[in-house]
Amino acid sequence: MTIDLLPFAVSLQLGLWVTVILAVCMFPFAWIFARSTKAWVPWVESLFSLSLVLPPTVLGFYLLLFFSPLSPLGQFLDNTFGLRLVFTFPGLVLASCIAGMPFMITALRNGIMAIPEHVLEASWTLGKGRLETIWHVVLPNMRPAILAGVITTFAHTLGEFGVVLMIGGSLPGISKVVSIAIFERVEAQDFASAHVYAGILLLTSYVGVFLLNRIQRTQRLRDARRDSV
C-alpha cells in the first residue's frame, strides 16, 4: 500500500485559498446581482454560471490553452511578472476559483436578497454610507448564507478533479490533490490504497461539512424566530 499524506495537504490548501478568495472577491458581484436592476445584470450573471455547464476536463483544457506559456497571455505573464499559471499551485487556485465561482456567488447573492430593503434604507437615513451599511448591517445578517457559500465551495474544490488534472499536471506537492491520488491508485489497480485515500477524504469532509451545517442550523433556527423586522 502506498499512502502519502502530501495530497491531503495540497487539497486542503487549495480548498482554503479558493474559499477565502472567492468569499471576498465574489461579494461585490453578488451585491450587484442581488440589487441592481440594470439591463445587463442577467447577462453577466449567466456568464458567471458558465463554469457549471462545461465538463470540468473541457474547462481545464481551455484554461490550459489560454494560460499556456506558448499563448500570448501566457508569454506576457511569464515575461513581465515571471508568473506561470499552468502546472503551478497559483494556476491551480485560479482555475479552481473559476470552477467554483457559481457556488459562492449564488449563496452570497441569495443571502443579500434576503435582507429587507427597508433595513438598508434605515441605515442610510441614519447617516451610514454604503460600505458601512454592508459591514455593520448586511454581513452580520447573512451569516447562514456565507456559511452555505463556504461549505459548498470548499466541498466542491476538494472534489474537483477534471480541471485540476488538466491544468495542474498532477505534480506531487504542487498540484497532486487527493482526488487525483485516488484516481491514480485505481488506475494502478491498487484498490487498497485508493480505499484508504477515499476513506480519509470522506471522513474529514463529512466531519467538516457536518460541523458547518450545525452552525448554520443554529443560525437559521434563531432567524426563524424573528418576526418581520
Partner: protein, 272 residues
C-alpha cells in the same frame, strides 16, 4: 579440424564475442552514467494503465541511482500530450502506444525519436473459470451475455481486440455483447465489476488485485495469439527540454537496459 568445422567455430566464436561485446555495450550504457551526475528529480508522464509497472521502474531506478528521484505522473495519453504541447514540466513521456510519442516528435517537442520499450499482450480474462479450449470463440457461447472491450477507436488494446475477433470471424457474432470502455483501465474495471469477462492487457494480471490469477492460465485467462492483431508497440520519448539532463538520459537508458526489460517482462509485457 575440417574447413567446414573450422569456419563454424570461427563464426560461433565471433558471434559469441559480439554477443558479449553487445552486452558490454548495454552494460556500459547503463553503467556509463556517473551516479554523481544522475542526481536530479525528474518527472515522467505515463499513460494511466502503466501505473503498476511505473511503481516497479521507479523503485528499481532509485535503488540504482540513490541520488536520483523519479516522479510518475499518470493520465490519459491525450491529456498528457495536450499538456506537453502547452509547457508541462515533464522530462519523459512513457506511452502505452507508438502514436502519441510520434505526435510529440512530429510536433518538434522531443529530444529524439520515440524508442520502443515493450510490447503489450492481449488476453481474454474471466473471473469464473472457463473452457478456453476454443480460444476466443468461447465468447460466442450463449452463456456469455456480455464482455468488456476498450473502445477500438481510442484505445490500442481495444483496437487489438477487435482485430483479433475480426481475423477469427467472430466480430459480427459477438459485437452485440460488447460493453465498451473508454480506456483499458476502465475495461479492467468493467471486467472485474460488471461483466466478469473481458479482453484486457496481460500486465493487468501483475497488479495487486489480480495477482492471484497469474498462474491460472487456461482456467481464468487465455493469451490471444499475437499474430491475430497488430503489435501493441509501446514507446517512450524524451522531451526536448530534458535533452541534456543526465538523470533523464539515465532513466531512458534504464528502460532499454536488461534490467528495465526484465521488469517489463515480469509485469506481463513482451519484449519489442
Amino acid at each position: 579440424m575440417a574447413t567446414k568445422h573450422r569456419w563454424s567455430c570461427i563464426v560461433l566464436l565471433l558471434s559469441l564475442s559480439s554477443q558479449t561485446y553487445a552486452q558490454n555495450l548495454n552494460f556500459s550504457a547503463t553503467n556509463g552514467f556517473d551516479s554523481n551526475k544522475v542526481a536530479d528529480s525528474i518527472i515522467v508522464a505515463a499513460a494511466a494503465n502503466l501505473a503498476s509497472v511505473g511503481d516497479l521502474l521507479k523503485s528499481a531506478f532509485e535503488a540504482k541511482y540513490a541520488k536520483a528521484s523519479v516522479t510518475f505522473v499518470y493520465g490519459a495519453s491525450g491529456a498528457l500530450s495536450a499538456q506537453i504541447q502547452n509547457g508541462a514540466p515533464y522530462q519523459l513521456f512513457l506511452s502505452a502506444d507508438l502514436e502519441f510519442p510520434k505526435r510529440i516528435f512530429d510536433a518538434g517537442l522531443a529530444a529524439a525519436r520515440p524508442q520502443i520499450y515493450a510490447r503489450g499482450m492481449l488476453i481474454l480474462f474471466s473471473l469464473k473459470a472457463l473452457e478456453f479450449k476454443k480460444g476466443l470463440a468461447v465468447l460466442s457461447d450463449p452463456t456469455i451475455k456480455q464482455f468488456a472491450l476498450a473502445s477500438p477507436e481510442i484505445a490500442p488494446y481495444g483496437k487489438a481486440g477487435r482485430e483479433a475477433l475480426v481475423s477469427l470471424g467472430l466480430w459480427d457474432l459477438v459485437k452485440a455483447k460488447i460493453v465498451t470502455a473508454q480506456s483499458i483501465s476502465q475495461a479492467i474495471q468493467f471486467t472485474i465489476g460488471a461483466t466478469g469477462i473481458g479482453l484486457i492487457n496481460k500486465s493487468a494480471l501483475y497488479s495487486k488485485n489480480l495477482a492471484s490469477f497469474i498462474d491460472k492460465e487456461g482456467l481464468n485467462w487465455y493469451q490471444v495469439d499475437d499474430s491475430l492483431y497488430s503489435p501493441l508497440v509501446q514507446a517512450y520519448v524524451v522531451l526536448k527540454s530534458a535533452a541534456s539532463n543526465q538523470t533523464t538520459m539515465a532513466f531512458a537508458g534504464f528502460l532499454s537496459s536488461r534490467e528495465g526489460k526484465a521488469i517489463f517482462l515480469q509485469a506481463g509485457y513482451a519484449l519489442p
